[in-house]
């Protein structure tokens, strides 16, 4: 029996109230909000966070990593190998990137299932994230949110996959051309009728018929939809009750692209008991319908962070201008390409700085980061044992920098004592600088520092565990 062995999700901490968007355009006030990735986040860093949460309560090792996104930060450069490194996976794991399709998470899931069922892979990690930027002032501005999700596929699952039904459909619904900054879309009502509803109604019927199931037999249905109105229309057409539908939190987060169905999957897994059936309906240039049954193992499984705790862990953006600055729509956009960086340097220190290893002096036990050759504590030449550093700690001291350029001033720089040893200096993010102080517990998050030498320079930052 194969299926889903773990799930993790990541919702960025910032929310932009639709009221603030409305105010900026002198439009009518609208309820709800959108989840907004911080200025240092992207569709890669969010995927890292979701993958780490998935692996924290999932399999100990994976032998393949698939990454799906319509908004990956590189056009040419694979994300899955980077993801494998940051998550400190075995060097050389099989990887694959899935771009372009909003259905990418389930496409990857389907291929992961194939690989596992064929016996080619044992445990596969699928991570999906999106940070899709709507055109300022356009309809989509109230609709798109940022998030990430991850799952693992393997044997002895918490939810067994009973069937995976898929069909492709060449329909121009949402798109972003090469070189475009913003997502565009077809006429809303046309696309809802002829793109979304047609695919969902026909597809779900076919998928259910294939296994002889009824829609009413599912405890939970993850019904992906580009907007809440489309979701309501589809639920009605399929005869689904409110109890069956997993809340995708469109009102608070917006549609989170490829991550949406994974947020929904976690929502379903948080709610079901062994024996409950789950359906995932994933839309975009066609349809994937995944039918699952929760196993006995679901009773012992809990996510690293529940969806409700992530929804509560939020900071409000104080202005629409701040949002525009985060996305580089206004402001200097931080002209950071002149910052020194070096591919040679970064490659040389990949284990230390990406996998985040320190060196433990065999002579005196002092944990050094960065790794040294001669121990500053006992002056011996070690040897130094490489040691994976904890992703959490406490602030020993800090500076709140008003002159270091950042879209979110002041820039807090923290000296962090890591749990289990080692001290590190990190930029601090997702925080309220005024209340951030010595002793604050922090977690490490992988973020973008700058664009030195014309590539994305990622490294660790810290953020308060909760706000």
């Amino acid at each position: 029996m194969h299926g889903i062995t773990s799930v993790g999700t990541f919702v960025p901490r910032y929310r932009l109230a639709n009221d603030l968007i409305g105010e900026s355009w002198r439009a009518e006030a609208r309820p709800g909000s959108r989840s907004i990735a911080n200025f240092d986040e992207d569709a890669f860093t969010m995927a890292v966070a979701a993958a780490e949460r998935c692996l924290a309560v999932g399999p100990e090792a994976v032998d393949a990593v698939y990454y799906a996104s319509t908004s990956a930060p590189y056009r040419e450069k694979a994300m899955a190998p980077m993801l494998a490194t940051v998550c400190d996976l075995r060097p050389g794991v099989a990887t694959g990137d899935f771009g372009g399709s909003l259905r990418g998470a389930t496409t990857a899931l389907g291929l992961a299932l194939d690989a596992v069922e064929l016996g080619r892979r044992k445990d596969v990690l699928v991570a999906a994230a999106d940070l899709r930027v709507p055109r300022p002032g356009a309809e989509l501005e109230l609709a798109l949110g940022d998030a990430a999700g991850a799952l693992t596929v393997g044997a002895d699952p918490i939810a067994a996959v009973d069937s995976f039904w898929t069909r492709s459909d060449d329909f121009l619904h949402l798109w972003r051309r090469d070189g475009d900054a913003y997502v565009d879309h077809a006429d809303t009502r046309f696309a809802r009728q002829h793109g979304y509803l047609r695919n969902v109604v026909e597809g779900v019927a076919a998928a259910l018929q294939e296994v002889g199931a009824e829609a009413s037999g599912f405890a939970k249905v993850v019904l992906d939809a580009p907007d809440p109105s489309s979701a309501r229309a589809a639920a009605k057409a399929l005869g689904l009750t409110a109890d069956q539908l997993v809340d995708l939190h469109h009102g608070e987060l917006g549609h989170t692209g490829t991550a949406g169905v994974l947020l929904g999957l976690q929502g379903a897994l948080e709610a079901v008991v062994p024996g409950d059936r789950i359906a995932i309906v994933s839309y975009g240039d066609g349809l994937d319908v995944v039918l699952l049954t929760a196993t006995e193992k679901i009773a012992d499984w809990a996510p690293a962070r529940t969806l409700s705790s992530q929804l509560g862990d939020r900071r409000e953006l104080d202005s629409f201008t701040r949002y525009c600055e985060f996305r580089g729509i206004v402001g200097a956009g931080e002209q950071t390409e002149g910052v020194f960086s070096s591919t040679a340097l970064l490659h040389r220190t990949q284990k230390q700085d990406v996998r985040l290893y320190g060196g433990c002096c065999a002579n005196c036990g002092q944990i050094h980061y960065p790794i040294v050759r001669v121990c500053g504590a006992c002056h011996s030449e070690g040897p130094f044992e490489e040691l994976k550093l904890a992703r959490s700690g406490d602030v020993f001291t800090l500076s709140k920098e008003r002159y270091f350029p950042t879209p979110d001033p002041p820039l807090v720089v923290s000296v962090v004592d890591l749990e289990g040893g080692g001290r590190i200096v990190l930029q601090t993010t997702d925080c309220d600088a005024a209340s951030f102080d010595i002793g604050t517990p922090v977690e490490l998050v992988y973020r973008r520092y700058h664009e030195g030498q014309g590539f994305h320079n990622y490294y660790w930052k810290c953020r308060p565990v909760e706000v």
Partner: protein
């Protein structure tokens, strides 16, 4: 190791005005400070048989100060060894040390130590802030500005010793009051502690008035072996270097990444201070030292220097400054020149500017800044994130 305390004398000291010297080039300031010192020593340029140049950041300007050539060229001081010394903000203390070593070896008889820094051909944010934004390791410590590397000290000092922003403001106000008396200082306005507290934040808890300004300037001394001092009829009596300690006790990264380091003090300052006291045979600095020029690049550095140099315990430092003990007329006046907070900090020149100021004090020619009966003075010059320190003890003859 043999002590060299008491064997070297300053016979001449010179200094330009410190400030935004928009009318002066690097070369102009190098020439002015050197000629000022040469005249004070009553020698000729041709008497100098070796020279050490201290400049910390040649990249901030037109790449002057990258080598000894940049001292030799403007002064046409050809055919003698000239060495550029670079040890961050303690470069001048290091230039002085190397000049002394050359005299002690007997290879040289009359040497020059010159510090020059030209920062204001660029905006402060275009030079020093840009340096920390654009250069250095892509990630390690990325986000700190120079004030930030000291605000982490302040945050921890407050936390561990019960000190606070008011104590820092007291130091800054005191040094601005002193600076108002110094004709060569960058800032010449008295300042209240309230003004310091109300000033804009730079790196919490440091306001802009807790930070030294970005300044141009140069300072120089002429040194000989003490026994040779009488050969030169210098303008004022020679001043003896009774001892110097110089210590590199951390690196650029290690103080921040060392899990054992508690912040709120600098090992380099403590080690350099202990060495200097041993050389100068000082057992109770608070009793035996009449005045001190310490490296108050940020107000918190002076607070830390009180305890690092053995005047008080860390927990007493706030009370000590609030009592007025370190003001002009107090128990041990600190930074009667106005310190770096008022004079400014042309990086490579600062440590030698301190010696210029102490030379005046110990000769009794410091004017309104004069500490009555001053016989023994201390100069404290630190570099990097408190990683390098030079402590020099001078005595009047």
């Amino acid at each position: 190791m043999e002590s060299w305390g008491g064997k070297i004398a300053i016979i001449g000291a010179g200094c330009t005005r410190f400030g935004e010297n928009f009318d002066q080039s690097y070369d102009d300031m190098a020439v002015d400070a050197t000629l000022d010192a040469v005249r004070d020593a009553n020698i000729g340029l041709a008497d100098i048989d070796g020279a050490w140049l201290s400049t910390a950041f040649p990249d901030a300007g037109v790449w002057k100060g990258r080598s000894g050539m940049d001292l030799a060229e403007p002064l046409a001081l050809w055919d003698i060894p000239v060495t550029r010394v670079s040890n961050y903000c303690a470069s001048a203390g290091d230039a002085l040390r190397n000049a002394c070593m050359a005299l002690l070896s007997g290879a040289h008889d009359c040497v020059l130590a010159l510090g020059v820094e030209k920062l204001r051909d660029r905006s402060p944010q275009g030079s020093l802030v840009a340096m920390q934004v654009e250069t250095g390791h892509p990630f390690y410590q990325k986000g700190f500005t120079a004030p930030g590397t000291f605000s982490v000290q302040a945050a921890r000092h407050f936390h561990d010793n019960g000190t606070g922003r008011e104590d820092l403001a007291e130091i800054s106000a005191k040094n601005h009051d002193h600076g108002a008396l110094n004709p060569k200082a960058h800032y010449r306005s008295p300042m209240s502690a309230e003004q310091v507290l109300a000033a804009p934040m730079v790196a919490d808890p440091l306001t802009v008035l807790d930070c030294c300004p970005t300044t141009d300037g140069a300072a120089a001394v002429i040194l000989v072996r003490l026994e040779d001092a009488p050969k030169h009829e210098s303008a004022g009596p020679p001043v003896v270097i009774r001892g110097q300690g110089f210590s590199v006790s951390a690196g650029w990264d290690s103080p921040f990444y060392d899990p054992e380091y508690r912040f709120g003090g600098f090992r380099a300052s403590r080690v350099a201070g202990e060495t200097a006291y041993r050389e100068a045979e000082i057992s109770d600095p608070r009793e035996e030292i009449d005045l001190a020029e310490v490296h108050d690049c940020f107000s918190v550095s002076e607070l830390m220097a009180y305890s690092d140099l053995g005047f008080v315990e860390p927990g007493e430092s706030g009370e000590w400054v609030r009592s007025g003990a370190t003001r002009l007329g107090g128990e041990v006046p600190f930074n009667t020149s106005g310190g770096l907070l008022s004079c400014g900090h042309p990086v490579g020149a600062t440590g030698l500017r301190m010696l210029y100021q102490l030379t005046q004090q110990l000769r009794g020619t410091a004017g309104e800044m004069q500490v009555e009966g001053a016989r023994v003075g201390l100069a404290h010059n630190i570099g990097g994130p408190g990683a390098v320190a030079a402590v020099t003890i001078l005595e009047a003859t």
